[in-house]
Amino acid sequence: MTLLSVENLTVGFPTEDGRLRAVRGVSYEVNRGESVGIVGESGSGKSVTSLAIMGLLPRNAQVTGSVKLLGEELVGRTDKELSKIRGRRIAMIFQDPLTSLNPVYTVGDQIAEAVRAHNGVSKHDALRRATDLLDIVGIPNPKLRARNYPHEMSGGMRQRIVIAIAMANNPDLIIADEPTTALDVTVQAQVLEALEAARAETGAALVLITHDLGVIAGHTDRVCVMYAGKLVETGTVDEIFYGPRMPYTLGLLGSLPRIDETGRQRLTPITGAPPSLLHLPPGCPFSPRCPMTRDRCDDAEPVLTATTGPDHRAACHFHTELAEAKAEDVF
């Protein structure tokens, strides 16, 4: 069943040099309980997309398209209307937990506040629920820790507090934007485990935004690859990792050093840098960096088309040529 449906979402920002097209027509769906990964490099528009879904963009942002949560349109709603949905139906986890938490309240109070914001429970009950939530996200001595302030906790613990707040009202959807990027690997493992625990407890669907393909591989069912404000490939996690049909995806996978591979096998970098979103070239935005580029690529921008299966789609004119291709042969 479709929980979230994003259709032709665009986001533009007026700047002195013209309109910056941060998101250029993104469509995807999230089903109940599933986990969708959105992967892309800095500036690909992955964070702006999720902020647009939550209605959290600054006022000067120009948003068009449609975002439906269980059939209910979210684009164009007032902030007041959205605040009834945010935190209750959709919760969001940001990269830096310190900016999400209030420094002058204890973490217990902050979780209890989230509980009470959407439920008419007593303060006492809300605090008890806060302690339970702390226990679920793996904070030792939850009763004692509830009385701590954010500054008394480590980065990993703070992020787990944010996860506890996110799951406080049993949301249908959790959007996590680079939730572990600032953390060390062993702490990242703790936080991802807390996130999985939160999903198991609430049954929430997850949109996981990250640049880390390893995290995507282990924690998502389906993947959307973003480049220059558009989805350039979507599919199940296995389709994307074992049979990418967009040169960019192939290049990303080939550029990763891996701990499960030995020897000095040469990495295959993608040359150049992503295009400026102010002055996009006509045609395929990846064309200037693509080793397979031809005249047609600079004339018409490819749209997402079905490849190996109906749900495995790629935006490349020549996706059929990528069957069985290896990154080191193409790049």
């Binding site: 480590s154 990993g156 062993t186 591989a217 074992y242 499960d260 970098p269």
Partner: protein, 335 residues
């Protein structure tokens, strides 16, 4: 065996912690680096890995005498650098260079690329003409015509290449690379990794590659030293370390790294550490890792635990250059 080019022995670095107020009495020490010893051989990459706050960056800075060591020695080609003054250090700086983590902060925004790269040459009086700079730009894979531009006109990967060109200008023998890739996107990172490998082959450089990213370290390093709370807990040739990690901390680190392979990820065993890194001002007695050690928590008997609490484990050789600082080390295959 050949002589190491850099030999670090029993290196200690403590930073004083002072009280607030006027007196600023010394109330304790941050034990940033404790009794660290390692060798770097010619034409070799030693990976120094660990999580934030483990002392890996401080080790690199003390090695270059950018911070004075509290005790211990750093021998470069047989000469101890620790007692040298800044002036005495200067001629040696040509041979020992550093590339910093943040290519946005480490390049002066008011200098053109030519000026940036010529600066070390001018300081050491070896600047002749601009062709030197153009050669260096080409060496690091940049367009020689870009010398008139400023750092902000370049992308992160290109800036890091400028940082590498600056470090290479004086034809060093040893490069300390302090997290040189962590500010870069993956597709760009791969290009810099390839560049560093090519430069090492062409110029015969030795690298101390400091990083928190074990995937990159597996790719680039010949040997690896793992640090935890100021101490080296395990060191081994790279394949040995990843196949047969014997220290519980190394095992947890390796198991925590996500692999971009969904099938492998679904079946992998994760060792999740509990708690956080203790304060380096009051590190635990005995083994510093015991407060988070899964083995200490679940597998050891009480007398065994007492040994962990009382006796700090020292690096013991397990053969083939594999050393582990754990009383109850056992190799484990995790990948």
């Amino acid at each position: 065996m050949t002589e190491p080019i850099v030999s670090v022995r029993n290196l200690v670095k403590h930073f004083p912690v002072r009280s607030r107020g006027v007196l600023r009495r010394r109330t304790g020490d941050v034990h940033a680096v404790c009794d660290v010893s390692f060798d770097i051989f010619a034409h070799e990459t030693l990976g120094l890995v660990g999580e934030s706050g483990c002392g890996k960056t401080t080790t690199g800075r003390v090695l270059l005498n950018l911070e004075p060591a509290t005790s211990g020695s750093v021998h470069y080609r047989g000469r101890d650098l620790v007692p040298l003054s800044r002036a005495q250090m200067r001629p040696l700086r040509k041979e020992l260079q550093i590339v910093f983590q943040d290519p946005y902060a480490s390049l002066d925004p008011r200098m053109t690329v030519t000026e940036l790269i010529a600066e070390p040459l001018r300081i050491h009086g070896t600047f002749q003409d601009r062709s030197q700079v153009r050669d260096l730009l080409r060496t690091v894979g940049l367009d020689a015509e870009h010398g008139t531009r400023y750092a902000h006109e370049f992308s992160g990967g290109q800036r890091q290449r400028i940082g590498v060109a600056r470090a290479l200008a004086l034809r060093p023998k040893v490069l300390v690379l302090d997290e040189p890739l962590s500010a870069l996107d993956v597709s760009v990172q791969a290009g810099v990794v390839n560049l560093l490998e090519d430069l090492q082959d062409e110029l015969g450089l030795s690298y101390l590659f400091i990083s928190h990213d074990l995937s990159v370290v597996r790719h680039i390093a010949d040997r690896v030293a793992v640090m935890y709370l100021g101490r080296i807990v395990e060191t081994a040739p790279v394949d040995q370390l990843f196949r047969q990690a014997a220290h519980p901390y190394t095992q947890a680190l390796i198991s925590a790294i996500p692999v971009p392979d969904p099938r492998k990820e679904r079946t992998r065993r994760r060792i999740i550490l509990s708690g956080d890194v203790p304060s380096p001002i009051t590190p635990p007695t005995g083994c510093r890792f015991r407060t988070r050690c899964p083995k200490y928590a679940t597998q050891l008997t009480d007398p065994e635990r007492r040994r962990c609490a009382e006796e700090p484990p020292t690096l013991t050789d397990r053969g083939q250059g594999h050393q582990t600082a754990c009383h109850y080390a056992e190799p484990l295959t995790l990948i």
